[in-house]
């Protein structure tokens, strides 16, 4: 099983623990990944607001790079995943987008046919590697963990390709397979605030706070995410939130970190030391 890998800017920055844990888990489960050569930023939500054309062209370049490698393209960040998917959908749906989006490939002798498939690691790990194989590889079941599975918005919206749009369940199934308890978490696809936490702190942080507070109310011992921005927003403002609204302290980890723990991988290799609110030691060694 081999994939082209598009880390995106966050996995090289604030979300590096996601990359560390993802690569470690992939290695452990026999999924080979190869980073896309000299990839560019996906444009996230900012580019669509500034220049539609440039946004589509940037994504098409990454897609074309993947087509050159002729593997499926792994995109772990929700924003990257959505940008790539949206570009593919709109190229297929709107001739005007197709003309625009492929308009800057010639200089690098690239081409885009639409055949490359963009995949999220959650989809690949649960559906391709499969829960039976993962179960078999578990060394330390996640006993005592009560996980609130948080999917964020852009992984199933608007293109619900591998999970339900209103009520995704893949992560729930994964953690149950790893021996953890999963709390019913109705906010699992509600927005974390995205870049609003940085721009208009009060608005963005309130959204994140609601998510954490509800996880805490439901007795979760940690929140698991699939997106670097969600993890950042939920993990790094808890002191401010506690000051402003009510006390909240909730470890927020990547789903790959929990998977890594269950596979018996080293905490450091999984980047767990990068959590601002650390996962309690007793849990880790339960």
């Amino acid at each position: 099983m081999k994939f082209s890998y598009f880390p995106g800017c966050s996995l090289k920055g604030t979300g590096r623990a996601y990359e560390e844990s993802l690569l470690a888990v992939c290695r452990a489960l026999g999924v080979e990944v190869q980073e896309l050569d000299d990839w560019n930023c996906c444009g996230a939500t900012a580019y669509m607001a500034v220049s539609e054309a440039a946004g589509y062209m940037m994504n098409t370049r990454n897609l074309a790079l993947a087509e050159r490698d002729s593997h499926e393209l792994l995109a772990p960040c929700n924003a990257c995943y959505l940008s790539l998917k949206k570009t593919q959908h709109y190229i297929a749906e709107y001739p005007s987008v197709a003309a625009q989006a492929t308009g800057a490939l010639a200089a690098e002798k690239l081409s885009y046919t639409g055949k490359v498939k963009v995949r999220h690691p959650l989809d690949v790990l649960v559906n391709d590697v499969g829960l039976p194989a993962i179960k078999k590889a578990v060394k330390q079941p996640l006993k005592g963990f009560k996980v609130a599975p948080y999917y964020g918005c852009q992984i199933v919206r608007p293109f619900a390709e591998f999970d339900d749009q209103q009520n995704p369940v893949l992560m729930d199934k994964l953690f149950q397979a790893l021996g953890a308890e999963v709390v019913r978490y109705p906010l699992k696809t509600r927005c974390c605030g995205g870049s609003l936490t940085g721009t208009i702190g009060e608005v963005g942080q309130r959204l994140s706070f609601i998510l954490l507070n509800e996880a805490q109310r439901r007795g979760a011992t940690c929140v698991a995410t699939v997106c670097p921005l969600c993890q950042f927003n939920l993990d790094s403002y808890q002191a401010e939130m506690s000051r402003q609204w009510s006390p909240v302290r909730m470890p927020v980890v990547y789903f790959t970190q929990l998977l890594g723990l269950a596979l018996g991988l080293d905490e450091k290799a999984l980047g767990l030391q990068r959590c601002i609110v650390p996962l309690p030691a007793q849990e880790v060694h339960a």
């Binding site: 339900d164 209103q166 009520n167 019913r184 109705p186 906010l187 609601i210 509800e214 109310r217």
Partner: protein
């Protein structure tokens, strides 16, 4: 005027303006001018409305004055007005089949932009009709006898009403119902809007009238499995499922139910929408018609394993229980059929954001109908799962309606039944009731007045489609409540409204097997899956298959008054056919030119009606024109070209092909 050519044909040509419907796009004067110089045309006119009386008289006068022997009218679809103009020809003294119609409205002016292309198309179609009509020959209309018995499929209020109307008119009716009892959805309702009369009080007398009517043969727990024949002469097979009870003997005393080895009621009670349980043997509800118990083969130990001590058998003093009852197939002959197969309600679990099935105290409207009913599972008490009485209730409209992701259509009844439920809930509990609506649709008699009454009662109406029923509180007051997140669009902001109970006003959808049923009866469905009427305004209960009528919600969502009215209309249509005694058939049947037939038998297996046989003596094929339905399959297949279809002869079609191309 030129002298007629093309044999003896003297053709009158008329192009209709249809107001501006045609004339606004097609240059009708140019078409008339063009037609005037076509071979055989002796009169060519354009006129504002050809279907009007003066328009028809124009044809009649011209036939006499100009000795016309052929007529062509270019106007709307022949499916709409062919009959009108044929009759006009007949009144003018011309055989009605020496007529041809050109569709330049539905197939031209309504689908193309104004201009030369549309006019050229009209000319081409006219050219073809003129050329073709010259080949037409006078034909005779055939008649077929109508069998006076009627089949009504579906025993809800629509089927009941239709069956009673026909039976009261003196004709025999077979009423076939799939469930163990008639009554349909209406039997589950507590009150009816806007009058608030008790549903059972108005329905049950009709149900017993059905059961006791000498002209009605009632078959419940039965399904139509095969339909052959055509208008006037349908042969229908009905499969009677075993209910393991002799219907003639059982009186519905329910002693067997009491005696059942299951002391507890354990199985989901369909009639009470899952809010109650029943035993393996049960009477669906007290007024079930016929009053005969039914055994659930998936629950009864005897039927499942054959190893029960069968205490029910002993309890039955009439020896009505038959464990080895087999399904039975009945064959009947009827002349007309009325389909009243109803609807199903939208499955609220398809919209997980409203919490049906995951959050306690989220109910469907039909569940509340049962709950509020005095003989229902809670004896008429509206209560939460824990037995408390709700203090605040939210009713969410348009669940599975007006939503492109589920069902696009408005279900027409939800606004009104939601208001009815709001009234009943408030009356029974005194709770605050909130209605969340997109638009209030109250267009029936007395409906707007009912809305007004509800507003005066203090029921809240919030204009906004609910985004979510949540169980994550943001304030203390919200804890333990269901929180409805909605934009109050009239106030212009988003609100969170905590309630104890949520009622989902689920919409109406076609029955899951509507497609199978329509195939069985050879009728059509609209894109949404409702049975398609012949014309939305002028033939609302007819279908494209003669002798088959539709009534009630199988044709589209409607309330009880409209359903009953439609059922009466369908019964009237059936009675009208029966009263006439016969039906006129289009003479488009086929016949064999015996001299040309080689007797190869190619045609015989092709005929779907077995109308073709072989005269063994003469070694020729013979078509029974009384059976032939005029599809023309045999004509196209005949290798020697010896079969001719009236109105669609090879020459007629070839001339059309040649002429449309120039």
């Amino acid at each position: 005027m030129k002298q007629p050519t093309n044999g003896e044909a003297r053709i009158g040509f008329y192009v209709c303006h249809c107001g501006t419907n045609i004339a606004g796009v097609v240059n009708v004067a140019a078409v008339a001018q063009y037609a005037a110089q076509l071979p055989g045309v002796v009169v060519s006119r354009d006129y504002k409305y050809m279907c009007s009386d003066p328009g028809q008289e124009l044809i009649q006068t011209d036939i006499k004055e100009h000795q016309l022997n052929r007529v062509v009218v270019a106007s709307c679809s022949p499916l709409l007005h062919e009959h009108t103009f044929r009759t006009a020809c007949e009144k003018g003294g011309l055989n009605p089949f020496c007529f041809q119609m050109v569709n330049i409205r539905e197939h031209d002016s309504w689908v193309h932009e104004p201009g030369d292309a549309a006019t050229e198309k009209a000319k081409a179609l006219v050219r073809a009709a003129v050329k073709r009509v010259a080949l037409h020959t006078p034909l005779e209309v055939k008649r077929t006898r109508i069998h006076p018995d009627v089949l009504v499929v579906g025993g809800g209020i629509a089927g009941i009403q239709a069956a009673l109307t026909i039976a009261n008119g003196g004709q025999n009716v077979y009423l076939v119902e799939r469930e163990p009892t008639i009554g349909g959805h209406m039997a589950k309702f507590d009150k009816t809007f806007p009058t608030l009369d008790c549903a059972a009080c108005i329905l049950t007398p009709k149900m017993s009238a059905v059961a006791s009517h000498p002209n009605i043969k009632l078959w419940t727990y039965s399904e139509v499995v095969k339909v052959d024949g055509f208008v006037g002469n349908y042969k229908v097979q009905v499969r009677r499922k075993p209910r393991y009870v002799n219907e003639e003997l059982c009186v519905g005393c329910a002693k067997c139910v009491d005696a059942c080895v299951y002391k507890e009621e354990k199985f989901e009670d369909e009639f009470n929408e899952g809010l109650a349980k029943r035993k393996p043997v049960y009477l669906p509800f007290p007024q079930a018609t016929p009053p005969v118990v039914v055994f659930d083969p998936d629950a009864c130990i005897q039927l499942k394993t054959g190893k029960c001590k069968k205490s029910c058998l002993e309890a039955c003093d009439r020896n009505a229980i038959i464990f080895d009852q087999k399904p039975e197939t009945k064959e009947i002959e009827v002349g007309t059929i009325i389909l009243a197969t109803g609807f199903r309600t939208f499955d609220a679990a398809r919209l997980p954001q409203y919490g049906f099935g995951t959050l306690p105290n989220v109910y469907t409207s039909l569940q509340i109908e049962r709950m509020v009913n005095a003989s229902g599972p809670t004896d008429g008490h509206i209560m939460l799962k824990d037995g408390r009485t709700p203090k605040a209730v939210g009713i969410i409209h348009c669940i599975g309606s007006r939503d492109n992701r589920t069902n696009r259509w408005c279900s027409r009844v939800c606004c009104m039944y939601s208001m009815k439920l709001a009234h009943l809930i408030k009356q029974h509990t005194g709770a605050e009731v909130f209605n969340f609506y997109i638009d209030i649709r109250a267009p029936g008699k007395g409906y707007e007045e009912f809305y007004e009454k509800l507003q005066e009662e203090g029921v809240h109406f919030i204009r906004g489609r609910v985004a979510e029923v949540a169980d994550w509180p943001l304030t203390k007051e919200e804890e333990g409540k269901l929180i409805i997140r909605v934009e109050d669009t009239l106030a212009g902001f988003v609100r969170r409204i905590p309630v104890d109970m949520v009622v989902l006003a689920t919409g109406l959808e076609p029955q899951p097997d509507a497609q199978d049923v329509r195939r069985l009866f050879n009728i059509s469905c609209s894109t949404e899956g409702w049975f398609l009427e012949r014309h939305p305004k002028l033939a609302p209960v007819s279908t494209f298959t003669d002798g088959i009528f539709i009534a009630g919600c199988c044709q589209g969502p409607k309330d009880i008054p409209d359903t009953v009215a439609q059922a009466g209309a369908a019964a009237g249509e059936a009675l009208s056919l029966i009263n006439a005694g016969f039906i006129e058939l289009e003479p488009n049947t086929s016949y064999v030119i015996a001299d040309d037939c080689s007797g190869c038998k190619t045609c015989i297996p092709l005929c779907p009606y077995n109308a073709i046989s072989r005269d063994e003596e003469k070694k020729k094929a013979v078509i029974n024109e009384a059976i032939c339905k005029g599809c023309g399959v045999c004509v196209a297949a005949c290798p020697s070209g010896s079969i001719v279809q009236n109105l669609f002869t090879d020459q007629e079609i070839f001339s059309e092909i040649e002429a449309v191309l120039g």
